[in-house]
Amino acid sequence: MIVELGHFALVLALGVALVQSTLPMWGAYRRNAALMALAEPAAMIQFVLVAFSFAALTYAFVTSDFSLRLVVMNSHTLKPMLYKVSGVWGNHEGSLLLWVLILALFGACAAWFGDNLPPTLKARVIAVQGLIGVAFLLFMLFTSNPFLRLEVPPLDGQDLNPLLQDPGLAFHPPFLYLGYVGLSMAFSFAVAALIEGRVDAAWGRWVRPWTLAAWIFLTIGIALGSWWAYYELGWGGFWFWDPVENASFMPWLLAAALLHSAIVVEKRESLKAWTILLAIMAFGFSLIGTFIVRSGVITSVPAFANDPERGVFILMILAVFMGGALTLFAFRAGSMEAKGVFSMVSRESALVVNNLLLSVSAFVVFIGTIWPLVAELAFDRKLSVGEPFFNAAFSPFVVGLALVLPVGAMIPWKRGEVRRSLRPLWPALVLAVSVGALVWAMQTGRSALGPVGVMLGIWVVLGAAIDLWSKTGRGTIGGRFGRMWRVPRADWGKVVAHTGLGVTIFAVSAMLAWKTEDIRVVQVGEAFPLGSYEVTLKAVDEVEGPNYLSTMATMEVRRAGALVATLTPEKRIYPVQAMPTTEAAIDYGFWRDIYLVIGDAQENGGWAVRSYIEPFANWLWAGTLIMALGGCLSLSDRRYRVAAGAARRTATGVPAE
């Protein structure tokens, strides 16, 4: 019964979304306040209906309702409760429902927090958001209905892929979707502004928090996915340039570009057309990402050709929204005149460089991701594009970005001088280069990756610190420290986010450059050296988990005789899905992770053991978290609240008509 209600709520939501996307739009065109006012309740009702539908599906998963096809395919009575719930979005249909839920949530948020928007813009934003909702609700109801019943329910389900039964991956999709779909708000704002034919500083201020929120969620989502790959896949890698990863990375890069160009719109009323285009493209890449992940076209062309229904539908959605928005852009872009003038050397120009590097790097990831498809369709060549290509083609952009960042962040608006902006940065530059050179000298015969990473990391982090220091004015050191806390949150956010980027760049190159690996056969009781540590295989036992069987090794890690950690790497078999997984055991440390994996029993006795020292692994996750924290700080800046409050005051000041 509840399942039927959920299904029905979804159909109702489609009806409401149709109303939401048409009547307010018409009302805004005719300046009809009553029709425009429909947008708000419609957005909220749509959200409530989709939320109910989502709750109904969750209920079916939690109670293991095996009359539902989706539950049978992705759940099992023995599965722990957390994974019964995360199983809701651990599959195509459920993840789409989550997608639509978040889309409706953002629409409702625009209704709740949009008090300071001009009524026509607000109506149009919510209407465009509703239109996206219509497309995806249609997609779901016609090609991927989660509420299909089975005529003869089986006794038990087929379980969720055991690789996905993991806390990191349980929360990875919701964050990623909050990011993907959050960019729909930037898109809606862009399209609404194009229809209005007006983009000004206020528009930049409104669109920025949404983009920022989406970017924060994407950052956390990508970091969670990468962390999961690191500890679950069993060889300590953290990024594989896999199409699915790239699908989330491209919107992240474009969202980062959009964040920065929206600042120029907000502060200087320049780069308007470019910012609108970026907002459209950022969401476009979210849709492309959804297409890549959901259609499976990149991983397997034949599989796509056999079941093209879903992929073609998403392509149609992509074509309609991108085609429509870009056509609108072509007609209206010319009318958006820039106001602010700036010289060649200025913050504006620096942000143009930032945007150029970020968006071209996103394009490089894009072409690398789709090239196998293009080559097969156009040139009849079956080929692969993987890590070596991306490392070679993408890294230069990161290097360029990191080199320019500290200078660009300190150049004044409108007109500046490189030499004057560089002056406070000299110590950072000297320190970065000398530490980089020192590291280069200390490591013999290894790649330049490590030293370059160290240099860029120090340069970006110190540059951010100097940026913050320069905002405290002049005077005694104590006074300047005191004033540091009065620097606006937006500036803190900028500094913290840039610091996070520096830490991340350093950690990535350190992990790639200085990883220690050891593969060998170890007898029970035997010890072997790993870097400056000594690892002993104490025992190997068979253990039973709630829904798996495990071969668990007990290993001691000692350093100069003192016990550092006792680790228990496992090898699991999940009988329901007949799937083996490796569970690496990791001793997390500040400077390094010790990463142990137990392999197969060998014929002559003993076990295959794989062990790694991953230098600065935690710095990578910390770096991404610091970036996200910077975003949150910026989001909490007074500016956005002051603007909201001021608008409300004027709203109450106007007498009712």
Partner: protein
């Protein structure tokens, strides 16, 4: 639980031969320099039957065979390129993670740098158009006198 264990054992027997993990201890070459070359070569070769894994990371039996082939060729004295060519002639360019920059692949390799150059050109032209005259520094006389007035107050 006993049912679980029984099915588990059955599954274990069925999938056991498939669970060979990435590089095995018995594959590792005694010569460390040669082994390092083998690792870096196999890192760039794709497992023909997996989803985007290199033969270095993959658990598939064919990847093990390919890793052994790589090491055999290295022991026979082949250079890195010769080893890669040896495998590409047998399995096609599909196994190459780093597509060779030749023929149509030039588009792939040049698209990024090309777009960057084009973008730089457009951005340069745009910024120049938005540029303010460099000599226009300081205040006009009227502004200066108004400033003086304000400062005196």
């Amino acid at each position: 639980m006993r049912l679980l264990r029984a099915t588990g054992l059955l599954v274990l027997l069925l999938v056991w031969p498939l669970t060979v993990q990435a590089v095995q201890p018995d594959e590792v070459l005694a010569d460390a320099a040669l082994e390092a070359r083998a690792r870096s070569i196999s890192h760039n070769l794709r497992c023909p039957v997996c989803q985007g894994e290199s033969i270095d990371d993959s658990n598939a039996p064919i990847s093990r065979d390919l890793r052994l082939v790589v090491r055999e060729r290295l022991l026979a004295g082949d250079s890195d390129d010769e080893v890669i060519d040896f495998i590409v002639t047998r399995y096609g360019e599909f196994v190459l993670f780093n597509p060779k920059p030749e023929g149509a692949n030039l588009i792939l390799w040049l698209a990024g740098p090309g777009l960057l150059l084009a973008g730089l050109g457009v951005a340069f032209a745009y910024v120049r158009r938005r540029g303010v005259p460099v000599l226009d520094v300081g205040l006009t006389d009227a502004e200066q006198s108004r400033l003086d007035d304000l400062l005196k107050k």
